[in-house]
Amino acid sequence: MRHIISILLENEAGALSRVAGLFSARAYNIESLTVAPTEDPSLSRMTIVTSGSDDVLEQITKQLNKLVDVVKVVDLSEAAHIERELMLIKVRATGKDREEMKRMADIFRGRIIDVTESTYVIELTGASSKLDAFIEALDHGLILETVRTGVCGIGRGDRILKV
């Protein structure tokens, strides 16, 4: 099953490689990984999308907690949460495709943020499944480039991850 793990970790050199190294050394899946400092510059917040059985997930959480740089770990997918991912996608936009691309971007509430004679860059935010659906909906021959940030997520309401 797909899980979104949120981690608060010390903003130390090497902390990222400790987490990444753990996942590769123990053959855990990483679908995406994002990290950036928080409002407290001594802490980073990392979001990892992974998948595995309940037993594997239990080990992933325990092993993450064991890392000395890791302050807190939570499996966001255990309860109500919001996930978002940002995608920038560059598409060919010529002739009749130009109008069609604009229409698709509107349907998915994307924004066109760069325009040339032959291309658009569309910015799209949402759950990963929405970004997948957008890509699916396009004629693949027209996609020139895609960049995705990977998922970041946050608990709903009173679910707060803080030291």
């Binding site: 490689s17 239990e58 080990q59 325990k62 907690n65 064991k66």
Partner: protein, 572 residues
């Protein structure tokens, strides 16, 4: 007062009451060696290879409960140390390794003797640090010792660039450590401990399974008291030997791949299992699917949550420090006693079943013509040393025979590499023990292949006049490999014969030691007695015993098989 970074490092070691540092100098640690030279509180032991420095520091810790300390230079010094670090990591041994690094400005430029030490060691340390400011040294070393010895112990590496050890700063050793991200749990959850007590009292076929965690936390006395009061059978892992006296009638011996018949059968068929500081290793429970075919309730005490329910699902997890949890458990049992609770009378029936398993006498072995049986060498060693020696071992068949036939009654007497299974540890382990316990009897059980992996340390032993007794079970084979080839690869002995062996007696003599060779069974006892006699009390003795070439270690559970699917010597 300003002192140099190098002096700060040494002052930190003094503050930590470190008496011995095992190491090897080089360019990146010259300042540190200079600071060592100018004091005499911390003694430096010059080894002949950095791997041996780490192994010696590791054994120093295993036999004394202190944190072992090793010092190596950058580049090849650090890479040579990696095997030692990984060996300690797998067995949860507290070490602090200080490595030199190229100057800060040179990092990343493929400088002379530069390697990414922090990167290379990351997967085999509990934690590591690269110090980038001389003012951080004291704080970092304080943290390193704290991390190494608390929680689940392990090696911690501190990498110090050369310019940092040359710069100066004020020195003050921090009194305490605060790390918001590191708070090991010590006390177990009371509700869980209550549940455990209840299960133990209701057990009809109880079993206590003890691992290295009991030794690491110095809880052998408490564990023994608990087991005696409950009257339950006790088995130990390879790492747990000595945590419950081998000579006690309740002891079923070691379990696992080469464990006793009775221990493995009892482990498989028990209805309540109390696991203490043991991690359900694959060499211990064999096939987990087979193990879980028999329903049983498992209580697991371990300080590391990730050791719990990793390979085997447990019913009552108790995260905590063994001695703290045992104290609470005993308190609850006391309350229950007052309330009139008694162990189930069915336990007596269980002991009868165990007695039948014991009657198989799985440790008996037959002589093979005129050859010296390796098992008999360990029995002779046990007899001559009164069962009271520190025994270090290398890795292979001889290691298993030492574990099976040297009956350890005390903790921290049996020093070997279990998790990584590193050939070459035996001699440096014996060195570490000799420094921790001057004057104690130290025997190194080894094989002709393993001993050659750190043979250069014969020189260190001479320099420091270490009265170690090496017992070389010389079967002219990579015996453990040969055994697997015989059993699972159609007796095709691919590269497992040790050809062109040195004359170990002459080799020992070349290093200024005493060498003795034994070739006939009748000469074994006299030679063993001579080696450990007062005559050689202060000598390093290399006892080269030519043993049976085809002896195999039994019982044995083949890889992937279950605990009750042992191959016994009598089956063949």
């Amino acid at each position: 007062m300003h002192i140099t970074g190098a002096e700060i490092v040494i002052r930190c070691l003094q503050e930590e009451k470190v008496e011995h540092v095992f190491g090897y100098p080089g360019g990146a640690v010259l300042h540190l060696y200079d600071a060592l030279f100018q004091q005499d509180q911390v003694k430096h032991i010059l080894v002949r290879h950095e791997q041996a420095a780490v192994h010696a520091a590791d054994a120093y810790s295993r036999c004394s409960q202190k944190v072992g300390v090793a010092l190596v230079t950058s580049g090849p010094g650090a890479t040579n140390a990696v095997t030692g670090i990984a060996t300690a990591y797998m067995d949860s041994i507290p070490l602090v390794i200080i490595s030199g690094q190229v100057p800060t400005a040179a990092i990343g430029l493929d400088a002379f003797q530069e390697v990414d030490t922090v990167g290379i060691t990351r997967p085999c340390v509990k934690h590591n640090f690269l110090v980038k400011d001389v003012r951080d040294i004291a704080d970092t070393i304080k943290k390193a010792f704290y991390l190494a010895r608390t929680g689940r112990p392990g090696p911690v590496l501190v990498d110090i660039p050369k310019d940092i050890s040359a710069q100066s700063a004020d020195f003050e050793y921090p009194k305490t450590v605060q790390m918001r991200s590191y708070n090991p749990i010590v006390k177990g959850h009371l509700g869980q401990i209550r549940k455990a007590a209840q299960l133990l009292l209701e057990a009809k076929r109880p079993m206590i399974y003890v691992g290295g965690g009991v030794i690491l936390s110095d809880a052998a006395t408490k564990l023994t008291a608990l087991a005696k009061r409950l009257g339950f059978p006790v088995t130990q892992t390879l790492m747990g030997l000595g945590s419950f006296p081998a000579s006690d009638a309740q002891n079923l011996g070691m379990l696992g791949m080469h464990g006793t018949y009775e221990a493995n059968m009892a482990m498989q068929h028990c209805d309540v299992l109390l696991a203490v500081g043991a991690r359900f290793d694959d060499r211990v429970i064999g096939n987990p699917g087979h193990f879980s075919q028999v329903p049983r309730k498992i209580v697991h005490i371990d300080i590391d949550p990730s050791s719990i329910s990793k390979r085997v699902k447990v019913d009552v997890p108790i995260v905590g420090n063994v001695p703290d949890v045992l104290d609470e458990l005993v308190k609850i049992l006391d309350e229950q006693d007052k309330a009139g609770a008694k162990a189930d009378p069915a336990v007596a029936e269980w002991w009868k079943t165990i007695a039948e398993w014991r009657a198989r006498d799985c440790m008996s072995y037959k002589a093979n013509g005129p050859a010296i049986m390796p098992q008999s060498v360990i029995q002779a060693l046990h007899q001559v040393t009164g069962g009271d020696a520190f025994v270090t071992s290398d890795v292979g068949q001889h290691q298993m025979w030492a574990a099976q036939y040297y009956k350890f009654d005390k903790p921290r007497r049996w020093i070997n590499s279990g998790g990584l299974g590193t050939m070459g540890v035996g001699l440096p382990y014996a060195m570490g023990v000799s420094f921790a316990h001057p004057g104690a009897t130290v025997a190194c059980v080894t094989g002709e292949a393993s001993i050659q992996m750190n043979i250069q340390e014969l020189s260190t032993c001479k320099q420091f006049r270490l009265p170690i007794k090496v017992v070389n079970l010389n079967n002219r084979y990579l015996g453990m490999v040969r055994q697997w080839q015989e059993m699972f690869h159609g007796s095709r002995y691919s590269e497992s014969y040790m050809d062109s062996l040195p004359d170990f007696v002459k080799l020992a003599e070349a290093y200024g030691h005493v060498g003795l060779r034994v070739e006939r069974p009748e000469d074994l006892m006299p030679a063993m007695e001579l080696a450990f006699s007062d005559k050689h009390k202060n000598d390093f003795v290399f006892l080269d015993v030519l043993t049976d070439q085809t002896a195999n270690v039994f019982p044995m559970i083949a890889a992937g098989k279950g605990l009750s699917e042992m191959i016994l010597a009598e089956d063949l």
